[in-house]
Amino acid sequence: MSKLLDLQFLAGHAHYLLFIVLMMTGLFIVVDKTNLVKKIVGLNIFQVSVFMFYVSIGKVKGGTAPIFPMDDKYHVDTAAMAGQVYSNPLPHVLILTAIVVGIATTSLGLALIVRIRESFDTIDEEDILAIEQDMTREDNKKHGNAMGGLA
Amino acid sequence: MRNLDLMLSLFRWSFYGFMCIFAVDVTVSLFTAFGVFDIIAWLLIVFGGIFAIIGALGSLRFPDFWSRLHAASITDSGGVILLLMGMGMHSGWNLVTFKLFLIGAFLFITGPTSTHAVANAALVSGLKPPRQLRADLERDDD
């Protein structure tokens, strides 16, 4: 923990700390808020902070985006690349894939929310829980004896 | 006492003169170190930034929606045009200028359109202009 008091160390790791704060904000929304749409928004925040963390690993100090200069015949100009530092393109590729998959899962979750609202007439988690408990109680009343008093 | 006043005014005016000479000197050295276009570009960028702040400040501080609409249009017109023109003049004639022109043309079309759409939606939904403004509008109709 004494590392956190070192200013040099803190300057190099401040990004990571802020990513974690952001991630935990998303987690707090997912855990604490009962509205399902808001939970999806929280999940998005969590997701984006993970993406940023991942992309920040590929960043090189003094580097630029991995887009190479071209010469007159539209080939990559390897001579002009010589002194230039480029950031690592691999995290960018992986995160590009992850973003598209993320929007797919988000849309699936939102479709589920629409169906939940149709069935339960609410999108609040606690209300849904109460309704489900009521349904269980009803079932117990109806079929409890038939199941031998176990259900 | 009179001598003190005289001395103070002398001091003040010499200070002003010195500042004037300093300003002229700085300007001349700027113009000799850089071209005229560079300096115009910087002025445009600086004023564009100031306009952006003015617009944002207005949209924060103005009392009702309709005056905030007016303040936000300052950023959309003054800020965007000045900043894009400044960046274009700074980069010279190349692909970047063309892209900047494209952005400018697009914002020039979409900015007023979206602002009009917001204002229209607000008016249709029943957000009334303040009383004074409404009175002015009615007087114009007569």
């Binding site: 802020l18 935990m24 904000t25 960043k59 991995p66 190479f68 589920l112 | -």
Partner: protein
Amino acid sequence: MIDTVTNIILLSMLVITALAIVRMDRLFAVVMLSGVFSLLSALLFVTLDAVDVAFTEAAVGAGISTVLLLSTIALTKPVEKRARHTALVPFIVVCVTGAALVYGTLDMPAFGDPNAPALTHVGPEYLARTPVDIDVPNAVTAILGSYRGFDTLGEAAVVFTAGIGVLLLLSGLRRRREDEEEDQA
């Protein structure tokens, strides 16, 4: 220096936006704040040299995601209810998780360190071979389309599955609703 300060300011604005999302209970405002959130995160991607990621994040986060959230709210209720439980337990959970993650980052190399393990093996190889093998100026496109083409195929499969799932979930919506209205009438 300026890069770091810009990053920190952008990240602080992101955190402020996220906290505003936590506090806001009108879902329209939450959706708009999340649109602003993804615009800001795309800005941060630009400063982290991930231009293509910023492109995608802007299109997906600020465009598609906002429209999807808005249409969901159109089909459901626009105002969030106050939670009945206390926020203490979630807060403790979040703090413990955050402390564990911070402990995990202590051993990481500093931000932008060129000797970090992540930057010394595969990345330079890709950067060196892309101009020779594929001759495309954008290294990200080259890797995405060629070296890691199967990843993209898997992504397409996932998106296809998700699309089928959404269609299955929403297919009978209007029909069922009309049936309901006929029943009520």
